[in-house]
């Protein structure tokens, strides 16, 4: 069964460093997303991406963040100048429209980012 994959599974970085989180969405999906989940808190939407551009982003997704689809398979989230509060699980997801305006979203296993 097709699945979303993410690498690395765990990333430890020092405050102020840049990190790139990688995702391979399901191959025939057209919509891609990044979410984060701070330990013990709810899943928070960061950004959605369609047709090689950002289609929607949340207030969390400020200039510190960027996304890219550098080739036909990878989808990346770059976090510049990391802060302690960026420590969280970061989930990638992809979806395709079922019909009309209805979508089903499939998540990867996540990358645990720890900023020290």
């Amino acid at each position: 069964e097709p699945e979303v994959t993410q690498t690395p599974s765990h990333q430890v970085t020092q405050m102020g460093q840049e990190v790139i989180l990688r995702c391979v969405p399901i191959s025939n999906h057209l919509y891609f997303y990044w979410y984060r989940q701070i330990l013990g808190q709810k899943v928070e939407f960061l950004v959605s991406f369609y047709n090689n551009e950002i289609s929607e982003k949340s207030e969390i997704f400020d200039d510190q963040f960027s996304v890219e689809r550098p080739d036909g398979s990878n989808f990346t989230l770059k976090i510049r100048s990391t802060k302690l509060e960026d420590s969280a699980m970061y989930f990638c997801a992809s979806s395709e429209p079922l019909w009309g305006t209805n979508y089903e979203q499939y998540f990867g296993p996540g990358t645990r980012l720890t900023v020290t």
Binding site: Y50, A93, Y103, E104
Partner: protein, 110 residues
């Protein structure tokens, strides 16, 4: 931005018991997804409900979408320890932004 509420926040039951958890919104859902998330893992899609009044069954899980499409419930029959996890509902606006509820954390004790 649509806000989703889920209740109860926590639920601890014995194996074999039945339970129902709820997802509510002040606005009408276009469609609603239910997920289960285990610690350290990503949410796993269980079901999508679209039509008001719709009922879907997935083995011992029964999902219902309210007639007005502003609420949904998940009923588990004869819960098992393997059902333990965080149950999340989510709604999307034309696939652009999925809004998640805070979840119901279920613990099924053997």
């Amino acid at each position: 931005t649509q806000l989703l509420e889920q209740s109860p926040q926590f639920l601890s039951i014995q194996e074999g018991e039945n339970l129902t958890v709820y997802c509510n919104s002040s606005s009408v859902f276009s469609s609603l997804q239910w997920y289960r998330q285990e610690p350290g893992e990503g949410p796993v899609l269980l079901v999508t409900v679209v039509t008001g009044g719709e009922v879907k069954k997935l083995k011992r899980l029964t999902f219902q979408f309210g007639d007005a499409r502003k609420d949904s419930s998940l009923h588990i029959t004869a819960a098992q320890p393997g059902d333990t996890g965080l149950y999340l509902c989510a709604e999307s606006s034309y696939g652009q932004n999925f809004v998640f509820g805070p979840g119901t954390r279920l613990s099924v004790l053997p």
